[in-house]
Amino acid sequence: MGELVVDKHVKYILSVEKRKDSFESVVLEHLRMNGAYWGLATLDILGKLDALDSNEVIEWIMKCQHESGGFAGNIGHDPHMLYTLSAVQVLALFDKLNVLDADKVANYISGLQNEDGSFSGDEWGEVDSRFSYLAICCLSILHRLDKINVEKAVNYIASCKNVDGGFGCTPGGESHAGQIFCCLGALAITGSLHHVDKDLLGWWLCERQVKSGGLNGRPEKLPDVCYSWWVLSSLIMIDRVHWINKDKLVKFILNCQDTENGGISDRPEDAVDVYHTYFGVAGLSLLEYPGLKAIDPAHALPVDVVNRIFFQK
């Protein structure tokens, strides 16, 4: 087990970017924008973002933008909130937010806010607290939070709070670490964490750590590396990360590596993918594993990128 095989992971990510002819990559082509974020954010955390030609990526990203201002998962697809945030995040990584017409993107997002403060993912109307996070995070990066009704947005998120202190996808929905991350991220960005019972939720979150040291997303479920991000970033946002056993979690994540071919999987011995590679590396960064860039839990971007966005003008 031992250590993080950085070079192997870099190689793995670069190979995924290039392997556009594989069946797997073709089947996932509609969410390539998410894949770009996972891969590039990982490279940046590992200090290797310059391994790619940013101009090529940026050119492709802009081709994914629609008239409405929203971004699609790939060329030839419809826009969606999911890909709009990833697009903006990738541009932020490259310090190229200036290629955007921020108002245009902001209009797309604000147009998706509903009467009750919730957000739809796209024109087809699916509502989920995830979309509240995507909207708020994206607008925050673009300095356009004033384009939405923040108070209503916050009230909707608060209505998704459950009696165990957690949050679900919609009011009454089961508390789930992924949904909790989204709600906390949105509340943190809008300065509304007072809606959270931090002690109660902190306890629920630290109860996600199972015997193997890994984290699950709900009671009695299996651990998965992606929860190293959802649970950990949530705990950090409410200042309770010391309630989990960090060493055991680090060991769990490292055990999920494919030390030969690079990449990280959901749990030890399973097949790797870019999604889990990102969450494993990001989780290790939150755990202050040496040699990794610090990452901001709310915006899910390296701290130096976030500083650039908010403190340089």
């Binding site: 556009k20 002819d21 594989s22 069946f23 073709v26 089947v27 996932l28 082509e29 509609h30 969410l31 390539r32 090529e56 050119e59 492709w60 081709k63 699609a72 998962g73 790939n74 060329i75 030839g76 697809h77 419809d78 969606h80 087809w124 109307g125 699916e126 459950n162 009696v163 165990d164 679900g168 996808c169 919609t170 009454g172 929905g173 089961e174 508390s175 789930h176 902190g202 306890w203 630290c206 109860e207 750590q209 015997k211 709900r218 009671p219 009695e220 479920k221 010391h242 309630w243 989990i244 056993n245 055991k248």
Partner: protein, 330 residues
């Protein structure tokens, strides 16, 4: 659509002779087709053509069917299919049958669940029982499928059908008492069903139900949380209900996983519960022999015990101990 009808390749099908397929454009580095199946490239090529041309026809509908079977995650195909369904006024009950066919092999696909909701919304209350039956079937395959639960909650609130829901939760808990989703649904029902009278009206029967469950499996996290939730905004009733404190005592006096009983007792004490000698004895008997010296404060003793029996969360229990009032209440 079966294999027979699909044998004729689109490029050889006279029905498609007027259409030129559009290849995938990934930007500067075009896709080099080497490994993937020919029907995939071909179907998607024709799909891009009808998508670009905004063709809302029966053949386009059939094409989206093929594209979905090849890649049900492609959300753009689903969008386009909805546009066609609307334009052609297709019978949505037929569409539900198509959905049910592909759901079992794609149980966590967001597009499928959303498409289904879109249809059910259009069909209205008539669709309620069909949707409840469908989610029941999906949950029989994976009783914790978050999408299925989310859909089911939406159906109940938008289309109705609450009458048997509490019983359904019970059935699921009989199969797996650790199913947190079923516990969450139970809470959803007792707090939101228009037929049960709300939380306070159902509290007594729910407390009984929960306590029985706890005694069967004291290490089960969900019912302990559920029990606390039954007293949501009324901690006074929670600490004064003898059933609550006595279940803690029962578990502590037995050979069982004591963690949740201890933490619940700790919470009760923090809210003003007064522990008698029986409780003190039960807690004291759980002190590991090499632990910190005996503390006259039962709450502090509980925290010390928890640090030993739940070492993963030692920092949490240490913090809980530090938060206890320093003045001892006997």
């Amino acid at each position: 659509m079966d294999a027979e009808e699909h044998k004729l390749r689109l490029s050889q099908d006279p029905e498609w002779a007027d259409v030129t397929p559009i290849p995938q454009d990934d930007g500067p580095n075009p896709v080099v087709p080497i490994d993937y199946k020919p029907d995939f490239i071909e179907t998607m090529g024709y799909f891009r053509a009808v998508y670009k041309a905004n063709e809302f026809s029966p053949r386009a509908l059939q094409l989206t069917h093929q594209a979905i079977l090849l890649n049900p995650g492609n959300y753009t195909v689903w969008h386009f299919r909805r546009l066609i369904l609307d334009a052609l006024g297709i019978d949505l009950n037929e569409e539900l049958n198509f959905m049910s066919g592909i759901s079992e092999s794609n149980p966590k696909n967001y597009q499928i669940w959303h498409h289904r909701r879109w249809i059910a919304e259009k069909l209205g209350t008539d669709a309620a029982s069909k949707e409840l039956e469908f989610t029941r079937r999906m949950l029989s395959l994976d009783a914790k499928n978050y999408h299925a639960w989310s859909h089911r909650q939406w159906v109940l609130q938008a289309l109705g059908g609450w009458e048997n829901e509490l019983d359904y939760c019970h059935q699921l808990l009989e199969k797996d008492v650790f199913n947190n989703s079923a516990w969450n649904q139970r809470y959803f029902v007792v707090t939101r069903s228009p037929f049960l009278g709300g939380l306070e009206a159902t509290r007594e029967s729910e407390v009984k139900y929960t306590i029985e469950t706890i005694l069967g499996n004291p290490g089960n996290e969900s019912p302990w949380r559920y029990l606390r939730g039954l007293y949501k905004n009324d901690p006074k009733s929670w600490i004064s209900d003898p059933q609550v404190s006595s279940v803690c005592l029962k578990v502590l006096s037995a050979e069982a996983n004591h963690v949740f009983a201890l933490s619940t007792l700790l919470d009760l004490l923090s809210h003003g519960f007064q522990a008698n000698q029986e409780f003190r004895d039960a807690v004291d008997s759980l002190r590991p022999s090499n632990s910190d010296p005996a503390d006259s404060d039962i709450a502090k003793t509980i925290c010390s015990i928890l640090r030993h029996v739940d070492p993963m969360r030692v920092n949490y229990w240490t913090w809980r101990k530090s938060k206890l009032p320093s003045s001892v209440s006997v």
